[in-house]
Subunit: 477 residues, 2 copies
């Protein structure tokens, strides 16, 4: 049965200004989780959400997470939990979002006050957290309110989990999810996360895959302390020379990873997969626009999307311990730590990748015949994630997109990592869907972050519509 | 005629405590030239010297250098000039030193207050500037005073030039020296600089050569702004990848410079030169001690000394624009600037070296087939310097060493650069001698800088003795 969504959509349109006002109030709370002195604002934002949920009749609670590790004077902000409906005849959808934001200062290059929602004549709503992730989080609340005001039955039971530390490592979240998997989250039939972006600006997408990441420190040391290059240059093995050699051996200019054993682990491209890329709403101009240059590796969009989504990549990030300031300093650094990371894809195994990296580095260093000391270690590792886009969770979302935007969504993966996705999948054993609200130009994490009015209001329709289709989709796994 | 130095030496010994007190007063003035807020202390130190010189009857003046370039609110500290004696029948020696010091904070790891002279039971006098360069500068004043108190005729006319910006680029000094070459410095017959160190701890040396330095910035850029490695890794040419390749192509782990055309310019080793190294008071253990490790390139001292003094070297210093903090950041830096420098020796030509570097970098970058942009440029260049150690200025100093230390000095070169040396040589056209007072363990520029009481007091004897022998040496060029 196709849901009758017109009354809901009309209600959302009618409440648009009210929903924007709610976003304005949320953006006005500078809930920057990375700045200790802003912690009270993060907590304030958690309480704001808690109060808004209560007003909507949602059963809600604030769950403390204890002290922040390594900063015992700081309480972690609470997890805001919510339960709306508890009808055994309805499906239960668990949604996740975060109410903290990235740092922002007007002086960094913002055209408007970052913590005041400013709407320009193109309907762009500028403000820190507008798109990441206050807009999407409020989207769920707004969907509930529109149903209430339209007198419509809410189609599912909704479980909500909103955290306040996402922009600062999601401290405490993984343990909490694991702990509540068979308690608060026990009844969830599927999970939906709205914390990513459309691939472009025109066409919605559903995201079913993420790359993992393994981040390495490659340390070369020799002298007991930094040396003067005049006094010691030409007489001592220099750690920077060794490090440059090893870093340059990891990856080629065309992105090919030179570490033996990585490419062999990558899942082969199937014929079915090959056909997926050409229809994705993405052009090389989209790439060039987001790069700010024409320095792409591949001439075509298919290979570019595969490079982003389904092949591993290796990036050199920088060097700790070497001279990094402007100007000139004639130092021979005594200990340098190269930083690089590998984006991983199916079927790369975390331990196997670590082993390949260690073997490569050790072999390359041995070739050098240096008297310095070299070691490499994995700072942190997060696994790749790929869900089945054929699951009812996805087919429901696809129908919802069509009902709102009159277009079939692209099925996309992302090159980056959202570790909580995998945590929810592993903790609940349920299908997880990434259902973005904002577009690729929203500048999350950057200056002048924004959410388009169009994406916000239509996004609220999308979230509600998705829940209706979820209620109707046949069980398929 | 051999000078009769015993009365002078006795007088120096008798005044030792007084001379140490003078050094204590000087160290107590934190004349840190690199820190804007300390500028008044640098000026105060200049005035202290001026007053001390006046008390000794030296004709002295403070010469303003105007505003500091790029910091127009700051006056440069004055040059302290002094003239002691103006007898046409005597030789005139121009001495240079500096009265500013490196930054120092107790918290950096000093065992004592850096601006309080602290003498331990081994006679080590700890304090910022003790050896670099307040001890040597006061050495000249002390030599004058000891002559006066012993009722001895001063053997030469002494011209003094003490600057207050040596540790911060000697701003304004070169122009000043060029300007005064035919004025204040016109009558100088030779130049003596005491601002370097013995090669070890036991045996004095005279220094007749320095390497030059050419410092490069190697810039690779591509994207319009820093990128997220998850989103763009594997799809765009990364400047860090290109930079690592080029940096690793510049030099081998054993110090061999891989830039075509550099080795070809190095003056061949003569048979006479070959014999010089084996007698130098230097051991591989000296190297290992100063390195704080056994990571020397060569097993023998001869090749090590040649690597330091007479062969060029290339050091990679670091990268500007890449991630350099502890921890992890998954950034693809948009523009990275590799810093490296070449220590130069006879007969490397500044322009020719620049040309070789440019050609090498351009060729290596072309090989990469990258869409990024690469450029290299020389930030600053200072020429190598080699003087004749057979000049009377050196033979006088050698005899002075024998008279004080009962040993022939080593004739050494240095791997580092003291640009003012070449400036004085070029401006005056006279022979320049580097006559160190401190030893290799003095930790100039580091924490716990010190000057041994022995080196200070015997050094005062050395400076005075040197002037006596200068008065006696036959003209040889």
């Amino acid at each position: 049965m196709t849901p009758q969504l017109e009354p809901y959509f009309k209600q959302v349109d009618g409440l648009a200004d009210h929903f924007i006002e709610r976003l304005r109030q949320a953006v006005a709370i500078p809930s920057v989780s990375a700045e200790d002195e802003r912690r009270p604002d993060v907590v304030k934002m958690g309480h704001f959400l808690h109060e808004e949920l209560k007003k909507l009749g949602v059963e809600t609670e604030l769950r403390p997470l204890g002290k922040q590790p390594h900063k015992e004077h700081l309480d972690l902000p609470p997890i805001v939990l919510g339960r709306y409906g508890n009808d055994k005849n309805k499906r239960t959808i668990l949604v996740y979002g975060h109410y903290d934001v990235q740092p922002a200062n007007k002086e960094d290059g913002w055209n408007t006050e970052p913590f005041e929602l400013s709407i320009d004549d193109k309907g762009r709503m500028f403000g820190r957290g507008s798109t990441d992730d206050k807009g999407p989080v409020l989207g769920w609340l707004n969907a509930i309110e529109a149903h209430q005001k339209a007198g419509l039955d809410f189609p599912v039971n909704l479980l909500m989990c909103f955290e306040g530390m996402e922009e600062h490592g999601s401290e405490g979240l993984d343990d909490f999810i694991m702990e509540e998997a068979q308690k608060y989250f026990k009844t969830a039939d599927a999970v939906c996360i709205s914390d990513n972006y459309w691939l472009g600006t025109e066409k919605p997408c559903l995201t079913y895959g993420l790359r993992g990441v393994q981040y390495y420190s490659l340390e070369v040391s020799g002298p007991g302390q930094d040396l003067h290059s005049g006094v010691f240059g030409g007489t001592a093995h220099e750690p920077m020379t060794d490090l440059a050699k090893i870093m340059s051996s990891l990856v080629d200019v065309d992105g090919t990873i030179k570490i033996k054993g990585i490419a062999e682990q990558v899942a082969p491209v199937t014929d079915e997969e090959k056909g997926l890329y050409k229809d994705i709403a993405f052009t090389m101009d989209n790439l060039y626009e987001s790069l700010g240059s024409k320095t792409g590796i591949f001439p075509d969009k298919e290979r570019t999307l595969m490079g982003r989504w389904r092949y591993p990549s290796l990036s050199l990030h920088g060097i700790e311990g070497a001279y990094s300031a402007p100007g000139a300093k004639t130092v021979i650094p005594a200990k340098v730590i190269g930083k690089f990371s590998i984006r991983t894809v199916p079927n790369l195994d975390i331990d196997e990748v670590n082993k390949c990296v260690e073997e490569h580095v050790n072999a390359e260093f041995a070739k050098l015949n240096s008297k310095n000391t070299c070691k490499v270690f994995c700072q942190h590792a997060g696994k790749w994630w790929v869900a089945s886009p054929k699951h009812w969770n996805f087919t429901a979302a696809a129908k919802a997109v069509e009902s709102v935007f009159k277009v079939k969504p692209d099925l996309t993966r992302e090159g980056g990592s959202i570790p909580v996705t995998l945590t929810f999948e592993q903790a609940t054993g349920k299908n997880v869907l990434l259902l973005p609200m904002g577009s690729s130009t929203d500048a999350a994490h950057s200056t002048n972050e924004k959410l388009d009015r169009y994406n916000y209001i239509e996004g609220i329709k999308l979230l509600g519509s998705y829940l209706h289709y979820v209620a109707e989709e046949p069980m398929n796994n």
